[in-house]
C-alpha cells in the first residue's frame, strides 16, 4: 500500500514535470503547429492522390519527421523502383541536418535517455527552437527540449493523419500558411541579431546562402552553402571570432 502510494506520487510528479515543461515550451511551438499541421495535411492529400494507403502516410509522419523527404517520397513512390537513387537523393536532402546536429552537440550533451529521441526529431524548426530558447527557472532544459521535440512531432503526425483520413473534406483556403515558419525563422534571426553583438557569422550565413542559391538553384543549394559556411568559419576563425572578445570587453 505504502509502496504503491509512493509510486503513484513519483509518477504524478514525473507527469507534472513534463506538464510544466510542456507549458513553458508550448508558446514557442505555436508557429510550428501552424506550419506542420497544414504542411502535414498537404502531405496526406498528396499521398491520397498517389493512391498510397492512409496507414503508410501516418507511419511515414511518425518515423521520418522530414517534410522535404516526405514530399520527395511521394514522387519516388510513384516512379520506377530505384533503391540507389532513392538513398542518394535523400542523403543529399538530409545532409544539412548533419550541420544542425553538429551545432546541437553542446545543447544535447547530457540529455541521457532522451538523446536518441531528440536526435531523431531534428527538423529545421525543432533545431532552431531547441538551439535558441531556454526554459524558465525550475524547469529542466532536457525536459523542455524534449517537450519541444515531442509537440512538434505530434503536430506533424496530426497534420498527416488529418490529410490522409479526412483531408478531402477541408475547404478552407490555406494558401500562404507556410509563411508562419518563414516568420518564425525571421523572428529568431532578429532576436539572435539583438542578443549576439558579433554579427559576422549571421551575415556570412545569409550571404553564402544567397550566393549558393543563385548558383545552384532552389533544389540543391543548401549542401554547398553549408559546406562553404563551415569552411569559412574554420579557415577565418580568428577573424570571425576574435572580434567577439573585443566587443564583449567594451
Amino acid at each position: 500500500m505504502i509502496i504503491s502510494m509512493s509510486e503513484s506520487k513519483v509518477k504524478q510528479s514525473t507527469f507534472q514535470r513534463y506538464l510544466m515543461a510542456g507549458r513553458a515550451a508550448f508558446p514557442h511551438t505555436i508557429p510550428v503547429m501552424a506550419g506542420y499541421v497544414f504542411a502535414g495535411i498537404s502531405f496526406g492529400l498528396l499521398m491520397n492522390h498517389a493512391q498510397m494507403p492512409a496507414w503508410l502516410t501516418i507511419v511515414m509522419c511518425i518515423t521520418m519527421i522530414s517534410g522535404s523527404s516526405q514530399f520527395l517520397a511521394v514522387d519516388l513512390l510513384q516512379s520506377a523502383f530505384n533503391p540507389l537513387s532513392t538513398v542518394v537523393i535523400n542523403l543529399m536532402v538530409n545532409s544539412r541536418y548533419s550541420f544542425c546536429g553538429l551545432t546541437l552537440l553542446d545543447r544535447y550533451k547530457g540529455t541521457g535517455k532522451k538523446k536518441p529521441y531528440l536526435i531523431w526529431n531534428i527538423t529545421d524548426e525543432t533545431f532552431v527552437i531547441n538551439l535558441t530558447s531556454n526554459p524558465p527557472e525550475g524547469i529542466h532544459l532536457t525536459d523542455y527540449m524534449f517537450m519541444v521535440a515531442f509537440m512538434d512531432h505530434m503536430y506533424w503526425i496530426i497534420g498527416g493523419s488529418i490529410g490522409a483520413l479526412i483531408g478531402e473534406l477541408i475547404k478552407f483556403n490555406m494558401d500562404g500558411i507556410g509563411f508562419a515558419m518563414t516568420g518564425m525563422f525571421t523572428c529568431i534571426f532578429l532576436d539572435q541579431w539583438g542578443i549576439n553583438k558579433n554579427h559576422k557569422p549571421a551575415v556570412i550565413g545569409v550571404i553564402v546562402a544567397i550566393i549558393s542559391l543563385l548558383i545552384f538553384g532552389a533544389q540543391s543549394f543548401m549542401l554547398p552553402a553549408m559546406l562553404v559556411i563551415l569552411a569559412i568559419l574554420l579557415i577565418f576563425d580568428k577573424y570571425v571570432n576574435v572580434k567577439v572578445g573585443e566587443e564583449e570587453q567594451k
Partner: protein, 110 residues
Amino acid sequence: MTQSQIYITALLIFLAVIIPRALPFLLFPEGKEPPKFIKKLSTTLPYAVIGSLVVYCFKDVSVTDYPHGIPELIALACLVGVHIWRKNTLISMATGTIVYMLLVQLVFVA
C-alpha cells in the same frame, strides 16, 4: 512499383533521413573530448546556420516571374516592423502570416 518495392523504398528513405542526423553525435560522442574546431564552431555556426535557414525559407521566390516576390517583401516588412515594435514573436508571426495569406489569396492572384 509493387507493394513490397513501395515498402522497401519507404524503409530506405527512413534510413537516409536518420543517418545524417545521427552522424555528428556518433562521430563526437559525449564521453570523448571533441576536437578543438568543434568548440570554436559552437560560437559561430549556430548564427550562420540560422541565417542560411532564413534564406532557405525564401528559396522558391522568383524575382523575375509574377508576382516578383512582392507579397513576400510586404509580409516580411510588416513582420520585421511589428517585431521591432512589439518584440513578441507570436504577434509578429501572426501579422506576417495573415498579411501574406491575404496578399496571395486576394491581391496577387495568379
